[in-house]
Amino acid sequence: MDVLSWTYAAFFALVFALHWALPSRGSRQALLVLATGVWYVFGVWWHALAAIGMGTSAWIVGRWISSRPAERRGLPTTLGILLPIAYFIGFRHLAEWFGYEAEGPDRPWLLPNPLLAPIGLSFIMFESIAFQLDLYFGKLERPGSWWSHMVFVLFFPTRVIGPMRKYQDFVAQIGAVERPSPEQVAKGLRRIGIGLFKKVVLANPLGTFALFNLRPEMIESGSSVPLLLGGYVYWLYLYFDFSGYSDIAIGTSHLLGFRVPENFDHPYRATNVSEYWQRWHMSLSFWVREYIYAPLAIQWRYHAFGPPLAACLSMIVLGLWHGIELRFVVFGLIHGLWLAAHMVYRQTLLRRKRVRRWSQTGAWTFVSWFLTMNGIVWTHILYATSSFGLAIDWMKAVLG
């Protein structure tokens, strides 16, 4: 069910009304689970079962972890991490790798099509892994009830495009959900309005332009001006589209009484790559920082190249999260190396008084911003084009 559809508007209005009409916490939880089931069925019916299955397996493993003493949690935690990764690979890539044919007109509607991965699969994977690791590290004492876990896994406003949530922050709100205040409703509606404006008024026309100019035929034609314009407009499109959807997700969550994390903080203001990742898709980059970068950096803290190497690996995982393709690996690698270089710069050059003073001038800030944003736009071409080869062709064409 597309968020920008009348079906979604009617569906959400109904869920909102029922949610606040129901008297008890338990019935509201059941409604949210049921609503997400209906939401999934509007897309592909078996995805509801797949999501419930993935959530239930994470909950069972989570209970297993919490039932064991801290020193004996390694095995279930490993299983808890590997299971969502296996679901991700299985649902998203196995059918394709084994040459399964796309659906034809005669295909019965009820027959599951393994080429269609459940919506929100990558978010479910990372949220589940975070849940298991929080249990392992003792940041979370034990999982809540199966119902509350299902509400967490199946919360439809954030299922399509995030933001990614932390289990304990979200589940703590389930019990504390109060009748919505006028402030809350106004805040939610305003956020939805901002999201709709970004998506409909800004992202849609920008996307039409960018995607037209970045078609494979256009790249093959080697016309540098449209390709260059297409590349820059693509990043703007991506930002307005993604942050617009995030605003709608945050706004609708507000209306249902939940606070979910922010996803964007004016990324176009970033003056270095490190700052960029603190402003762009924040829920994902914070996840990567907390669950991949930090443990690795701590582990390798006595090695001179430990933290930069951890940054590289973290960004490769971030790239792979978008799909197991060469272009995403390259995207992660470039950003990882860029982050590592920035770390080295901060720890060496920036410690010199003259460089530090220079780095605080307006001119240097402008140059940093200019270089950062250009680097960001150029690396996002790997997302805009459908293959690594096409991204290279784009660069060749633009550079003449």
Binding site: T7, E183, P205, F209, S221
Partner: protein, 396 residues
């Protein structure tokens, strides 16, 4: 000022305030709808003269939906409907310069007031025409003119067609049970979530004039950044701010004949290349034509297929198609016409088109559209006058 804004920021939200804002929004929408009444009437008049068309972009059929479902039944019954791709739609031309409007204008000049509907779509494929044909089942018209662009029917690997748009689904759902069964058999009937969305869209359309006029709240095509960018680039070149070569285009979005558009060493992009990898007819694309014919027989609406001229000098000038490809295209054309004749699908061959009739590979300048309209007028009139039987294959 600062104090005022602080006071404004501090205004607490209450249910009453929210209700007042909602009420105000409803009043604004009602007033907007009231002021748009004249605009809607003007659009209805334009629709009958071929001067209204679908939203820019592939797979949209909103204006067609409006013309078939919202205009008076007697006007619809008299109408000639164009279906096809961006060539008939009139990409880069104003709606009044496109082929359907030019045919309507020819008839008007003779004192005939026959409605002509532009139901062609940018990116329209043979399958897209089926949604219009399905709607004619319950909203019959006088004649359908269906474009045949030979390169579309070349067998090649290509991405699957885009999903039905809301407008197309609404058209499909207007089919009567027999038509629906035919579409289901061809695997073209939309799934139930799409039908739910279409139902809700129709509900909103029926009660909200602004939405009805603006469709899915799309942005006006004149505001699309590519149009703005090209216009600015051409203006800057004309004012000698940019070098002269920037006056030309890689995609001809102006209305200049192609020889005037691609100047100063400018070349069209490869989008303008008709790829002809085989000399065979594409079965999925051809397969839509008999289904279309059957749907129209069911609806008792005659159809005339007309061939779109292809700009081969343009392909040769810029070395886009190889001579082998041109040869294969000629063979596909022969096969296609033979097969259509065998399947009793009457086709009107393309007219000779002068250089200044083309914008690019096949899109037409206003002059080109007028030339094709004159070519279509006779055979269309013959079919409208049921006593006549035109010699359709007598053309080039």
């Amino acid at each position: 000022m600062a104090a005022a804004s602080e006071a404004g920021a501090a205004t607490p939200w209450s249910w009453g305030r929210l209700a007042r804002i909602a009420g105000l929004a409803v009043v604004v929408l009602l007033l907007t709808d009231a002021t748009l009444r004249g605009k809607e009437e003007e659009m209805s008049r334009a629709a009958a003269d071929g001067g209204l068309r679908n939203r820019d972009g592939a797979a949209s059929a909103d204006a067609c939906e409006r013309m078939l479902f919202e205009l008076p039944r007697d006007q619809v019954a008299q109408a000639v409907v164009f279906v096809g791709s961006s060539v008939s739609y009139g990409s880069n031309l104003s709606a009044r310069e496109a082929l359907p409007a030019q045919l309507a204008s020819l008839w008007r000049a003779e004192g005939k007031r026959r409605p002509v509907f532009n139901c062609a779509q940018e990116g329209g494929r043979p399958e897209s025409a089926l949604s219009v044909a399905a709607a004619l089942d319950s909203h019959p018209v006088a004649l359908v003119l269906m474009e045949i662009m030979v390169p579309v029917y070349v067998e090649r690997s290509q991405p699957p067609p885009p999903p039905w748009s809301e407008g197309e689904i609404a058209l499909l759902q207007a089919a009567r049970p027999a038509g629906r069964a035919r579409l289901e058999a061809a695997g073209l009937w939309p799934r139930w979530p799409a039908r739910v969305e279409s139902l809700l869209t129709r509900l909103v359309r029926a009660h909200w004039r602004l939405y009805r006029i603006r469709g899915g709240l799309w942005i006006d095509e004149d505001m699309a950044p590519d149009q703005l960018a090209w216009t600015a680039r051409r203006a800057a070149a004309a004012a000698q701010v940019l070098p002269k070569r920037f006056h030309g285009q890689t995609t001809n979005v102006g209305k200049l004949p192609w020889r005037e558009a691609y100047v100063g060493g400018q070349r069209p992009s490869l989008v303008q290349h008709f790829r002809v990898p085989t000399a065979r007819v594409s079965e999925p694309d051809y397969g839509a034509l008999p289904v279309l014919r059957d749907l129209l027989i069911e609806a008792n609406v005659p159809v005339l297929f007309y061939e779109i001229p292809i700009n081969l000098p343009f392909q040769r000038e810029f070395s886009l198609m190889s001579e082998d490809e041109i040869d294969r295209l000629a063979r596909v054309r022969t096969l296609l016409l033979e097969r259509m004749a065998k399947d009793e699908l009457p086709i009107l061959a393309a007219p000779e088109m002068p250089d200044e009739g083309f914008l690019d590979k096949a899109h037409l300048t206003p002059k080109g559209a007028a030339r094709l309209a004159r070519h279509l007028r006779g055979p269309a009139e013959a079919l409208l006058d049921t006593s006549g039987s035109p010699d359709l294959r007598a053309g080039s």
